[in-house]
Each structure stands twice: as structure tokens, then as C-alpha cells.
């Protein structure tokens, strides 16, 4: 599903990623852990082209990303296949919960408005928020916002979902709400990459764990092996 080979990126003369190799197979959940500033988020953002890299290659869902700026058309295709969930949720502040979920299917996939809304309500139901369909993001709690953001990513039926610190901005109770949704998705066989420094999250969802320190992969293996030490 994802094959990262020799990925290298420097930012302001400092190495952000050094010769990173990573493979994610369909149905797998990969957790990327490591201290702050170790390059976890940068690695994730290189995978869907939100950031460029200097050397190596990324193959994702059959699309090939090369170093440097990539053509917009290619990036749009990559991102349709790779949904993303952000630390700060980034729900569209001008739209209600249901419209946040329905927007991309309507605009990007060309779905009819009614159909898109109907499906969006189904997805909100799946994350337990069907009754909040008309709510504005500003009126929802952090945990609720993050669950809407997951529904929004699911709406495009991505082959893989990239999570960038999905619970870091949440208190423990709200983290748990979000964690349950992610566990549920993993059980359903959804391919996912989760950047986190929450070891509980990694332990409960991941099939493989990658530890990144200073832009290098230091350990890689099943959760029990990597997270024990």
C-alpha cells in the first residue's frame, strides 16, 4: 500500500529525515512513535505530498512521488486515496458537521448534494455523532470535532488514512472517544498510519510500530517488541 524508500529531507540545513525506509501493507496499522521534533509528522506529510522531500521515493496506492515539487494533478489523486486527520482537527469553520463530511464527495468526487449528505449522516452515525449533524465546529468538544474529522476522511473512501497526533490536543476522556473510533476502524481492516507519542494508542491499534529519532528509524517491529523498552 505504501512503500517509502531512502526518504531524505533537510530543513534549514538540519536533517529532518535521513534515509527512511518503510513499508505498509494493506490492512496493516502502522504506528510511528518518537520524541517531539524527531520527524514523525514530517514523514507523514511527505507521504501525501503536503511537504516535498529531497531524495528517495514514495509509492502510495500505486502513485509514485519523486523528490521536489510534484504536479498538482498527481497530488490530488494521491490525496483522494490517502485521507488525513490532523492534530488540531482543522474542521472547516464555515460549514456544519454534516457539510464538513459531505463537501469533498460533492466537490472532488462529483456526488449529488443529497446523496453526499445522506452518506455523511451515515458516517457521522458511525462515529456516534448523527445528532450533531447541524452543529458548527466551534460548538463541538475537541473529541467530537476529531470524530467528525475522521468521518470527513472516511467520506472519500480512502485506501489509507494518515493520522497526525490525533489525540494529542485532547484530554484523556476525549482521547478515549477518538481511540475507540480508530480501534473500530482497525478492526474493520482499514489501512492506517498513526503518528503518536501516546503508547497506549500505539499498543491498542498498531500491527507494526516504527520508532523515529532525529529523522532516523531506530526500531521497527511488533508493538510488544518496540514499545517494551
Amino acid at each position: 500500500m505504501i512503500a517509502v524508500t531512502g526518504l531524505t529531507k533537510a530543513r534549514g540545513g538540519v536533517t529532518a529525515l535521513a534515509d527512511v525506509d518503510l513499508e505498509v501493507r494493506p490492512g496493516e496499522v502502522t504506528a510511528i512513535v518518537g520524541p517531539s521534533g524527531s520527524g514523525k509528522s514530517t514523514l507523514l506529510r511527505c507521504v501525501n505530498g503536503l511537504e516535498t522531500f529531497d531524495a528517495g521515493s514514495v509509492c502510495i496506492a500505486g502513485h509514485q512521488l519523486a523528490p521536489g515539487p510534484q504536479p498538482p494533478r498527481l497530488l490530488e489523486r494521491v490525496r483522494r486515496d490517502a485521507g488525513m486527520v490532523f492534530q488540531q482537527f482543522n474542521l472547516f469553520a464555515n460549514l456544519s458537521a454534516v457539510d464538513n463530511v459531505a463537501l469533498a464527495p460533492r466537490v472532488v468526487a462529483g456526488m449529488a448534494t443529497e446523496e453526499a449528505r445522506r452518506r455523511a449522516i451515515g458516517l457521522l452515525d458511525r462515529v456516534g455523532l448523527a445528532s450533531f449533524a447541524a452543529a458548527r465546529p466551534g460548538t463541538l468538544s475537541g473529541g467530537q470535532q476529531q470524530r467528525v474529522a475522521i468521518a470527513r476522511a472516511l467520506a472519500m473512501e480512502p485506501k489509507v488514512i494518515l493520522f497526525d497526533e490525533p489525540t494529542s490536543a485532547l484530554d484523556p476522556a476525549m482521547s478515549e472517544e477518538v481511540l475507540e473510533v480508530i480501534v473500530d476502524l482497525a478492526r474493520g481492516g482499514q489501512t492506517m498510519v498513526v503518528v503518536t507519542h501516546d503508547h497506549a494508542l500505539a499498543r491498542r491499534t498498531a500491527t507494526q510500530v516504527v520508532e523515529l529519532i532525529a529523522g532516523r528509524i531506530t526500531r521497527l517491529g511488533p508493538p510488544a517488541a518496540v514499545l517494551a523498552g
Partner: protein, 503 residues
């Protein structure tokens, strides 16, 4: 022009203050005959932009003025035993200079009953008639032609703002004409020639003087109607007024006026015969304010309607163009960005008045003659688009970058993300400053009077100066402006409080 944009409701207040100052200036005492003699100088006011044959810059000696009234002023001053000194002023506001820096006004001021209420009118020094001027190849060859609508509907006829010619056109309800007011008669001739208007009405001596320069124009019919030119002085200088009357009497009697007019090719013997017996001055016109207000209200309301029309058509255009510029500068092709930045700097850095002049008077010379209303709307929209683009640029930059990333991460193109996510949020953010600019535009519409569009301030100015009810009409006008800006201020505050609640 834009200094009051911080607060929307200040405009009527400032407007009143300006008017009150003008009024106060009129009240200061004018210099009497002995003071004029003591300083050895008679200061007379005229508008050199009004043109020939009255007062205009000498083509042979730049910096010098010439014209028959320049010579007449010299003669009158000599009769008083002093020198003449010229003072420039805008024609329809010349009387307001009396008692400030000016002793008398000599500039084709028609002897009309309503003038006598506020100023002392001398015995006449020139008998004018009105001349209709139209294109040689056009259908208008007589005033009566204007009694039936033309091929394009009502005829558009220009006249000097505040002149007897304008008053006559407005009073002739039997004519199918829309009257266009100009600040200079030459402007109206230019516009007839370029086809923007159908005809112009003016004092016969003016067209006689400029006929050669406007070879494509012709006198449409014989001169008609008309009256006398008079020298205006302030009411509180009776001895100066009598001295001027006596001076004119001597200049008429001893043939110097005839010689002067012969030299300027102004008249023959009928001028002198007319003036010899024309010492009679019409009685002052006194109307109650209630009657005046009742008469003026429909005109003021119609002009307020023009102000609303200008702002409501120009502002949405400015907003759309401004948003386009802002998007182009932030997200457009790199080659386009410096061009858009240059557009904003040029438009922001030049006066609205100049832009309106360019659109209205210069574009016809390259074959694009826009009607005044279209030119005014285009000018306002052009000018404000630069300001709106800066507001929208700030608004677009204020939307968090995470919003754009989230949209892109769903596979949207940049333009889809801008259209569905970023722009709607930016529009909401900038609502208060944009509403504020909308209020500001209501005031700026007054500049459009320079290109013959009569809106509220211009209508007030014409009514106030022709009736002398400067303060009373100012109150009425200010209330009309307030009625326009207040609802917008309330709307603006509501947007702001809604945003504070949302934040």
C-alpha cells in the same frame, strides 16, 4: 476624501460643520468704499476656468488673464481711483467669497430675482441671450426640436451648474430633456462634440467665442431669452455698490463700453441701447422655508436616490474585483502578482476625482464615450476595488493554514479549496471593514458631480446657493445622509458582535 472612513456616521456631522464655517465666512463684514480706496485696490472675483470671452488665461502671455471682464474690472477700478486685483474662485461659489477676500464678483453673473435676496446687484453691464448648441450633423437645429423625444429617448442637454441656462432648462417641463450640469461651459461643448450629450445651452457670447474651436458644432436656432450680467457686492457695502453703479453708468455713457465690446466682437449698438435703459433691478425673491422645503424635497430625495444607486451598483463591483485581485496576488500565477500589486498602488495612489476625469473626459478621445452614470460607477468601483483587495488580502491571510491543508488533503484543487473553504471564511472575517467602506462610498459619490452626475451634495450645493438657505437645507441634507448610513452602521455592529460571539 477618505479620512472619515473610521466611523460611518461622522459624515453628516462634518458636512454640517463645513457648511457652518462657510456660512460664518459670509457673515464677516465686507470692505466699504473708503477701505477699498485706502488700500488702493479693488479685489474682484471670477473663475478663469469658465473661459472666454469673460475671463481666461492669455494664450500670448501665460500667467496673465485676459477677457472683456478683465478689462471692465480695470475700468471700474480706475473709476474708483484704485487698481484692480483678480481673485480666482469656482464659478457657482463666487458669491461666497464676498466679504472674505473679495470686494465684488464680475463674471457673467445673471441678474436674477433670487440673487438679490443675499447680494447687492449692480446695474447691468452686458445683455446676454441663450444659445442652444448641437452637432452640425445631428438632428437638433432648434430648441423646439427638444419638445419631442429623440431616437434615444429624452435628449441630454448640458448647461453650466447654477446658471440661468440650467434654470431655464429645468423649468421647461414641456421639453423632453434630461439636464446635465457642468462646472465649465467648455466641458459641455467637449461632450456635445464627442457625442456624450445631445446639446448644450449657454450664453450666446460664449459660443460665439468658441465656435471656431468646435468646428463640428453649430448654433441650433437663434439666440433667445436671456437677461443681464451684473456686478455682485455684499449687502453691507452700500457706498461701494453705488460707486460701482455710477462707474458702470459713466463707462456706458461715454462710449468706452461700446469700444470694449466692439474690440471683443460682443455687440453692436443694441447692447448699448439695452443697457442705457436697464438700470432697473428686479425685486428680491422671498419664499417661506416651508414652501422652499416642499419644493426642494422631491429634488433632494431624487438626488439621494442617485447617491444610493451609485453606491449600491459600484460597491458590489468593487468587492468582486477586489476579491479577484486579492486571490490573484496570493494564489495566482507569479507573473501576474507584480501587475496586480502595481494596479493597487496606482489606483490607491491617485485621487478618485482624477480617475473619474480620465474615464469621462479622456476615454471619449480614444473612442470610448461612456454615459456619465456608467463612468461614475466604473470610477467608484475601480477606486474602491484597490482598497477592498487589500482588506480581502488581509482576510484571506487571516484564515488558518490548517484549513487549506485539510481541504487539499481531501484531494481538492487549490481553487476548490479557496472557493468552498477559504474565501467564505475570509468574507466573514472582513465583513466589518467592508461594511465600513460601503458607508465611506456614500460620501465619495459626491465627487461624481465633477462629471455631471447630480447626487445629494451637488443638489444641496445648487439649491443652497440659489436660494440662500444654506443652513436650513444643510440640516435636511445631513438628515438624508444619516438615513442612509445609519442602517449600515447598525448592520456593521451586528456583524461584529456576531463574530465576537462565534470566537
Amino acid at each position: 476624501m477618505r479620512d472619515m472612513r473610521k466611523s460611518g456616521t461622522i459624515s453628516p456631522v462634518a458636512f454640517l460643520a463645513t457648511v457652518a464655517l462657510t456660512f460664518a465666512a459670509v457673515q464677516t463684514r465686507a470692505a466699504e468704499l473708503d477701505e477699498v480706496r485706502a488700500r488702493g485696490m479693488l479685489v474682484w472675483a471670477a473663475d478663469q476656468e469658465g473661459g472666454g470671452p469673460h475671463v481666461f488665461p492669455d494664450a500670448d502671455a501665460p500667467g496673465q488673464l485676459t477677457g472683456f471682464e478683465v478689462e471692465l474690472a480695470g475700468m471700474i477700478a480706475a473709476e474708483l481711483g484704485v487698481k484692480a486685483r483678480f481673485q480666482q474662485g469656482q464659478w457657482d461659489r463666487l458669491p461666497l467669497l464676498l466679504g472674505r477676500s473679495v470686494d465684488c464678483v464680475i463674471n457673467g453673473i445673471e441678474l436674477l430675482p433670487e440673487r438679490k435676496r443675499d447680494y447687492r446687484c449692480s446695474r447691468p453691464y452686458y445683455a446676454y441671450a441663450l444659445q442652444l448648441v448641437a452637432r452640425r450633423d445631428g438632428p437638433i437645429d432648434d430648441l423646439e426640436k427638444l419638445g419631442a423625444p429623440g431616437p434615444g429617448g429624452r435628449w441630454r442637454v448640458g448647461a453650466l451648474t447654477g446658471s440661468a441656462a440650467e434654470a431655464l432648462l429645468r423649468s421647461r417641463h414641456d421639453l423632453e430633456v434630461d439636464v446635465i450640469g457642468y462646472d465649465g461651459t467648455i466641458d459641455s461643448l467637449e461632450q456635445v462634440q464627442s457625442g456624450v450629450i445631445d446639446a448644450a445651452l449657454m450664453d450666446d457670447c460664449i459660443f460665439n467665442f468658441y465656435a471656431d474651436r468646435f468646428a463640428e458644432l453649430r448654433a441650433a436656432g437663434r439666440p433667445f431669452g436671456g437677461g443681464y450680467y451684473t456686478v455682485l457686492t455684499a449687502h453691507d457695502t452700500p457706498r461701494l455698490a453705488v460707486a460701482i453703479d455710477e462707474a458702470i453708468g459713466r463707462i456706458v455713457a461715454d462710449g468706452r463700453l461700446k469700444t470694449l465690446y466692439d474690440r471683443w466682437d460682443l455687440a453692436g449698438r443694441q447692447q448699448v441701447l439695452a443697457l442705457r435703459d436697464a438700470a432697473e433691478i428686479p425685486a428680491a425673491d422671498r419664499r417661506s422655508f416651508a414652501r422652499l422645503a416642499a419644493e426642494a424635497m422631491p429634488m433632494l430625495l431624487a438626488s439621494a436616490g442617485m447617491t444610493v444607486l451609485l453606491a449600491c451598483l459600484a460597491f458590489p463591483l468593487a468587492v468582486v474585483v477586489g476579491l479577484g485581485i486579492a486571490l490573484g496576488r496570493l494564489h495566482g500565477p507569479p507573473a501576474l502578482q507584480p501587475l496586480l500589486a502595481a494596479y493597487v498602488e496606482v489606483v490607491r495612489g491617485t485621487p478618485l476625482m482624477l480617475q473619474l476625469y480620465a474615464i469621462f473626459f479622456l476615454l471619449p478621445k480614444v473612442g470610448l464615450a461612456l454615459p456619465a452614470l456608467v463612468a461614475a460607477i466604473a470610477g467608484l468601483a475601480l477606486n474602491y476595488s484597490a482598497y477592498e483587495s487589500e482588506i480581502y488580502r488581509a482576510g484571506l491571510k487571516a484564515v488558518p493554514t490548517g484549513q487549506l491543508e485539510a481541504a487539499l488533503a481531501l484531494g481538492m484543487t487549490k481553487w476548490q479549496a479557496l472557493r468552498h473553504v477559504i474565501v467564505p471564511q475570509a468574507v466573514r472575517l472582513v465583513m466589518p471593514p467592508v461594511t465600513n467602506d460601503f458607508i465611506a462610498m456614500f460620501k465619495d459619490t459626491s465627487v461624481c458631480s465633477a462629471i455631471t452626475v447630480i447626487e445629494l451634495t451637488k443638489r444641496y450645493s445648487v439649491l443652497a446657493l440659489s436660494t440662500g438657505r444654506i443652513v436650513e437645507l444643510a440640516v435636511v441634507t445631513a438628515l438624508l445622509y444619516l438615513a442612509m448610513s445609519w442602517p449600515l452602521s447598525i448592520l456593521s455592529r451586528r456583524f461584529e458582535s456576531r463574530q465576537e460571539r462565534a470566537a
